[in-house]
Symmetry: C2
Subunit: 280 residues, 2 copies
């Protein structure tokens, strides 16, 4: 099955080493870019169908299932493109999107998971986190925004939190989009070359870029400490945008197929309603 292939090819298991992943690779897919784009479009309908069933199933108040896509990456790796081209393919009425920026003063005054918990998807929804609680152990660690003991504590807190979230009925799909430093340089340079892209450029991106190795080490620790059976990480090579979009779409499809949502049975008398409607 294709879903098994994709999930298995991208999942972070015991012994995983980020440095072994080729950001230019296309694991699980042997076709060309053109074939990949065709496949992305072809499978969109299936994703949309699954999403509608998930949503429908929750309307009666019975099914508690939801899906949460967590997106993490270095700048310009393509999180926005995933939201636009993959998430954008399903009905916006079934999507809850949360973009986490640097925490506000109010958020900082609370435990780091406080603002995250508030944005978990309701039953029936596909939630998308554009950045997430992982920033607190990524930039948090690299930039030493908290004491080492607090950073250490967070890995366990995250694993506990995600276990509880998964038990509540939310399928967690964690994705790191992995690009190479050269690819990032090219993409940032394009933003500088095009006035219509200047708004996407932030001088701070280069500051973080200069700490590339530190970030990769922080990601490796994230994978070691928080890739669990109920909330595994997936590292998606992202130098090829078309491949990353196709891969994330397949990961979402696999999560939804795992839920296997069914059309709910009518909680009213269909024949009686037909008569009543016909007479109205």
């Amino acid at each position: 099955m294709m879903k098994t292939t994709w999930t298995a090819a991208l999942r972070v298991d015991d012994g995983f080493r980020l440095e072994d992943v080729d950001p230019g690779g296309t694991p699980g897919f042997t076709g060309s870019k053109q074939q990949g784009e065709k496949e992305l479009a072809a499978r969109r309908e299936h994703l949309g169908d699954l999403q509608e069933r998930l949503f429908a199933g929750s309307r009666s108040g019975e099914a508690q299932d939801a899906v949460l896509l967590v997106l993490q990456a270095m700048d310009s790796a393509g999180k926005g493109g995933i939201v636009r081209h993959v998430v954008g393919g399903v009905d916006p009425q079934g999507v809850e999107l949360a973009a986490f920026k640097a925490p506000t003063d109010e958020e900082r005054a609370h435990e780091f998971l406080w603002r995250i918990e508030k944005r978990l998807p309701r039953p029936g929804f596909i939630g998308v986190f554009d950045r997430s609680h992982y920033e607190d152990v990524l930039i948090g660690r690299v930039r030493r925004l908290a004491e080492p003991a607090e950073i250490e504590r967070r890995y366990g807190a995250i694993a506990d939190f995600e276990r509880r979230v998964a038990a509540s009925g939310i399928r967690i799909v964690k994705v790191m989009l992995h690009i190479s430093p050269d690819e990032q340089k090219e993409r940032l340079m394009e933003r500088l070359d095009r006035p219509d892209k200047h708004w996407k450029y932030n001088p701070g991106d280069v500051d973080e870029r200069m700490l590339w190795d530190d970030y990769m080490a922080a990601y490796q620790t994230v994978f070691d400490r928080t890739s669990t059976p109920v909330a595994p990480w997936h590292v998606v090579p992202a130098n090829s945008k078309w491949y990353a979009r196709l891969a994330v779409q397949e990961l979402l499809i696999a999560a939804l197929e795992d839920v296997d949502p069914q059309w709910p049975v009518a909680d009213f008398d269909v024949a009686a309603e037909k008569k009543r409607l016909a007479a109205s």
Copy 2:
């Protein structure tokens, strides 16, 4: 200009009478369904481009512009289809969608505009209200959910509220999707005929349908009292789904063209950043 045609053809002006509108009409468009669908797809890119400029302009914290699409209609008129096929055509990262159901106890304890104000779009966003504060003078009036004096008060409160919202930089696009009772009967019957549509059917829909004339009178009063220069109503014939989608897309485009959002100028030294990036 096409935008002038559409806006003018659909806008509620002095002397407007809902009963004069043919729900099967296609004002402002003389083509076939096939041409309409082609036009919808062709204009999507323009809407997406305008949305991205709107979003970009707000990132620097300078531009305060936003757009708010308010959707009202009888059941099955196609609000969901507008969200899916028109709003769904733009980047979900720039959209804030709010679906207003029957108010909760907490919401009921507040003034009726309290829950509305909280969901206004932030600068740079396209907000979409699937139902809105107008329910409080539609079902509120028809079902006598409040005293007549309170209902009366609300029209003025709404006009004041929208004047303030418009002054804050939010372009308000108010749309009533107008279907005929026969068309509604057909659509509801289809929901009853198809098990995969049962979840969309609510026996209460037939109860409201039986009060059709009361609802049309309540809409007429809404138009008389709340179609203002800064927040005019548009009545969009909706028996043809393809037409309604095309028309609403054009109304959104016209609102965004009115904002005329520009790519923001870089607030950093582009040449210096290129050097810094190249050296990194």
